[in-house]
Subunit: 195 residues, 2 copies
């Protein structure tokens, strides 16, 4: 399905359903890069949505593994379909509340946090304990409230190299008379290294 | 120097000099992803500047090779220093006018075009002939004039899957009272597949 070494699978390669969000190609590529992945890594994808981050990460970690978590059964079902579509065998799926489910997991080398409910702050706290020293946390944020609360908490926890990158993408579309650029909403990617 | 599998080397890892541009981390990561690289690929980096794209590409293509071209001796010198810093042996450097130099090169699997003079349109034409079928061209553009002229020419040449992605990045900076976002200039990445 994807025979390239570099991340950046076009969005249209993924199965999609209404109401399950996807991290779009260019933002996904930046998020994957901020996680600094290696073969053999154990990665969590919290709030996996359509599973696009899980799939890109699973390709990068090769012999490693990705644990995809979502509290929405539709997201887990969709991620499962995408895992099958891409023929990957190193992604396990967990349906449930990340705050409870993460505790039981093995330590992670990298953690992605995506569309969570209002409890991103609590999840970041738990992730601090589950991340190995030197491991990377990467949080994709669209809400101002989440941005504020994550920034507040991450500066108090055992993280350094805290970086906020706001990404605004526009994509071309052909009209009857030329080429226009269609704006997408800005996404802020917060990344940091566990001390 | 960079022991991760994923692209996205922080800008501060590169040697820099005044007046030689660098493709910054997040835009670079998107450009690398649009090129869809594999081990063994032959890649041109036309207008290599500081060499940051060459270095990321060289890591991705492993046994493959990158040919970095620039007409500015300062850029070639700086790229050389960065190649040495990252300990890479699969990048060759060419000082001179890309329009003349490319003709002699072997066919490419992927071509990056960066800061060129006013002749990006001519370079795209020559690149069409040097790209293998299915190979990818990725052009980073900041000037409106270049955007217009590349779009005009690329639609007439043997390319499909033409995509324009405008990327606007803001980065956090600490002030005495909080965290502000500093805007960078938008960059448009044009990518396409050789038919």
């Amino acid at each position: 399905m994807w025979n390239y070494k570099t991340p950046g699978i076009p969005d249209e390669f993924f199965e999609r359903t209404e109401n399950v969000p996807i991290t779009k190609e260019e933002v996904r590529v930046v998020q994957i890069s901020k996680a600094r992945l290696c073969p053999g890594y154990t990665v969590y994808d919290i709030g996996c949505g359509s599973g696009s981050i899980s799939i890109e990460a699973a390709i990068q970690v090769e012999s490693g593994k990705v644990i995809a978590i979502d509290y929405d059964p539709n997201a887990i079902e969709l991620t499962k379909r995408n895992v099958e579509k891409f023929g990957l065998t190193n992604i396990s799926l967990i349906l449930g509340n990340a705050k409870e489910k993460i505790i039981e997991l093995e330590q992670a080398d990298a953690i992605f946090i995506g569309g969570t409910g209002g409890d991103t702050e609590d999840i970041v706290k738990i992730c601090q304990d589950k991340l190995k020293s030197g491991g990377r946390i990467v949080i994709g944020v669209i809400l101002i409230e989440t941005l504020y609360s994550v920034l507040q908490i991450i500066e108090k926890l055992k993280f350094n190299s805290i970086d906020l990158t706001q990404i605004t993408i526009s994509k071309s579309r052909k009209t009857s008379t030329g080429t226009m650029m269609l704006a997408r909403n800005p996404v802020t990617v917060i990344s940091a290294t566990k001390v």
